[in-house]
């Protein structure tokens, strides 16, 4: 079995009570996981689940209240930041520097350097090199931030919600870049609240809620462990399907039935005289799993 490149043991992070609240805020509550070299590991959960805090403690940006973090089997030392790449969720860059200058400056902050030309190609920055950072679009900025996380040719890359706020096209561009990073054998740890992103990019993941891990495994394992059927989506009201033996959820489209036997479900609906016009059938995904585990929407 491969040894983990990063190991987090019983991590807890508590913030002092906010004004008006007597209780301290427990952002991370006993989280443990291991990340193996060369894999893409995801922390999936809704906003406020504790993903970013967990990641920032693992990065060494935040000090934990308790718990331990090991890098390549040892406590992180002063060389840790030289060997990892970090992309934060919200970061400003020097507004009057060009993309090329920003890459050069950050590259010289590390003792080891990746080829800037190669990074520019990987992150598709060729046409932006002379542009000031303040004139970049959201997607362009994220690509630059991703390139900055790679300027030291890191062994491990942390990406905190790299596609949040991007349009679908920019998001797909970034996914392709992350896949390119994986293709180079880098280890990637990313947080996201997009289940399709996690499903597409992550080899293994943990699902977090309220500072705790509630599920862990590969996307396929998690789905097969918790689901045996499919979702039937109907454009009808809940009253029409009363008494079904499967969980039924109201969605924006109408109703969603989590059925483990499609034929039995369709027969039951027809017996009740439900109009099946416009019905669609889809496989269960991580969002469904989160809903099943917590009763909440993943993007809430």
């Amino acid at each position: 079995m491969r040894s983990p490149i990063l190991e987090v043991r019983d991590l807890k992070k508590t913030y002092p009570a906010k004004r008006g609240s007597p209780e301290p805020v427990r952002a991370v509550d006993g989280v443990s996981f291991s990340v193996h070299a060369g894999e893409c590991f995801g922390l999936l959960g809704p906003n406020g689940a504790g993903k970013s805090t967990t990641l920032e403690v693992a990065e060494g940006i935040l000090a934990p209240t308790s718990g331990e973090v090991f890098f390549q089997g040892k406590v992180r030392d002063v060389t840790f930041r030289d060997r990892v790449g970090i992309q934060f969720q919200n970061t400003e860059l020097p507004s009057s520097l060009t993309v090329k200058e920003t890459l050069e400056v950050f590259s010289h902050l590390y003792s080891r350097r990746a080829s800037i030309d190669e990074l520019v190609r990987l992150c598709r920055l060729e046409d932006l090199l002379k542009r000031d950072n303040k004139r970049l679009s959201g997607g362009q900025r994220q690509r630059l931030l991703l390139a900055l996380a790679l300027v030291n040719d890191p062994e491990l890359v942390f990406l905190d919600e790299p596609t949040t706020g991007l349009d679908p096209q920019a998001r797909r561009h970034l996914w392709e870049i992350v896949q390119g990073i994986k293709g180079r054998g880098k280890t990637v740890i990313l947080t996201t609240h997009y289940m399709e992103e996690a499903q597409l990019l992550c080899d293994r993941l943990v699902i977090m809620d309220r500072g705790r891990i509630i599920a862990e495994g590969t996307p396929g394992d998690l789905l097969s462990r918790h689901f045996s059927g499919v979702s039937l989506v109907l454009k009808t009201g809940k009253g029409a399907v009363g008494g079904l033996p499967w969980p039924v959820y109201e969605t924006e489209e109408g109703l969603e039935i989590m059925a483990d036997d499609v034929n039995a479900c369709v027969r039951a609906l027809m017996d009740r005289g439900v109009d099946l016009t416009g019905m669609s059938v889809r496989s269960r995904n991580l969002e469904d799993l989160f809903l099943q585990l917590t009763g909440k929407d993943l993007r809430a």
Binding site: I61, R81, N90, E92, E104, H108, L109, S111
Partner: protein, 345 residues
């Protein structure tokens, strides 16, 4: 380590000169100051007049017959030479020795406030119909006089340097912390002191350029004379810049509220404006005010620069002030680095 500092310094300096508003503030403001000097040369002076009196308590009591203490500040001097030195440097507007017969006074011919003080003194001493100078003997200061503008010039340079240093480093650091830029730097191997050193060096380059520009501008327009070594003067401004930048850095070492930082920076800059003898002398002020003034780095910068420019002072004469500015720099840098906060979390 050196490479990191150099690249961060380059980045910050590029940011500065590409930001037109910062550039304008740092280079246009001094030009406005130069224009302001034109008005100073016109001889428009105001404020309370300072009249020096040679002798002790008795001499002051005698002088109060001639000088209305409500409208004049009386500054006693133990010796005539000490008083004349202050007149020459425009730190008092007129010097009176009431012990001579007739009482004798000294003014500087180039001092507009000295002219006013003389008129008031002569008017107070003379019967309405008598000749104005019949009861007093006038003398002008001997030796090299220092025009007021030349006396005030080092103060203006120091003041400009202080504002640029405090806000250029202090305010910018707080903004970086607020917008997450510091967190991004923290994710690299850069250490706090390396980052802060780069900020200090970048601002030093900017300040020295701005100060040289103002100096050359004033020299070209008004033909100021530096009686001492230009190299020493440059070193004094370098040390003054370092101490002021370090102070700004200390102020901004924690916190991410720009409003709070603004308040703190004002809390330091305004007392320096008034207590560091930028515009007027503190001659005759209470010992507490003088002690407060001595604690401020701007006082030492202005005092040293004046001593070099006006009196041709050498290294040994300005060494105590240079030492004080070095101490302020080291203390602020060490404490600032120790308590420096990259982010609010």
């Amino acid at each position: 380590m050196i490479e990191r500092i150099v690249w961060l310094m380059i980045a910050r300096t590029r940011e500065f000169y590409r930001d037109l508003s910062s550039l304008g503030w740092n280079f246009l403001f001094p030009i406005f100051v130069i224009v302001g000097f034109g008005f100073i040369f016109n001889g428009r002076a105001n404020g309370v007049l300072k009249v020096g009196v040679v002798g002790g308590t008795e001499a002051v009591k005698t002088a109060e017959i001639l000088i209305d203490p409500k409208h004049n500040q009386i500054v006693p001097f133990a010796s005539l030479d000490a008083g004349l030195d202050r007149v020459r440097h425009h730190r008092v507007d007129l010097l009176l020795d009431p012990s001579t017969r007739p009482p004798k006074y000294w003014v500087s011919e180039s001092s507009p406030k000295g002219y006013l003080a003389e008129k008031l003194l002569v008017a107070a001493a003379s019967p309405p119909k008598a000749g104005a100078s019949a009861t007093l003997e006038k003398a002008t200061v001997q030796g090299r006089e220092i025009p007021y503008a030349e006396w005030a010039f080092p103060g203006v340079l120091g003041m400009n340097l202080m504002f640029s240093a405090l806000w250029g480093v202090g305010y910018v650091l707080v903004r970086y912390r607020k917008n997450g830029m510091l967190r991004r730097i923290r994710a690299t191997p850069v250490r706090a002191w390396e980052f802060l050193t780069a900020q200090v060096l970048s601002r030093i380059v900017i300040l020295m350029c701005a100060t040289a520009l103002v100096y050359l501008g004033c020299w070209a327009l008004y033909h100021f004379e530096c009686r001492g070594s230009l190299l020493l003067l440059t070193f004094v401004f370098f040390m003054g810049s370092l101490s002021m930048i370090s102070l700004g850095m200390l102020v901004a070492s924690r916190g991410q509220s720009e409003e709070f930082a603004n308040g703190l920076l004002n809390m330091f800059s305004w007392p320096m404006m008034f207590l560091s003898e930028v515009w007027f002398s503190l001659e005759g002020s209470s010992p507490a005010v003088k002690a407060a003034s001595n604690a401020l780095p701007l006082t030492h910068l202005v005092r040293s620069a004046r001593a070099i420019m006006n009196d041709g002072a050498g290294w040994s004469q300005v060494a105590p002030s240079l030492g004080y500015m070095a101490v302020v720099t080291v203390v602020c840098m060490v404490v600032g680095s120790a308590i420096f906060q990259w982010s609010d979390k």
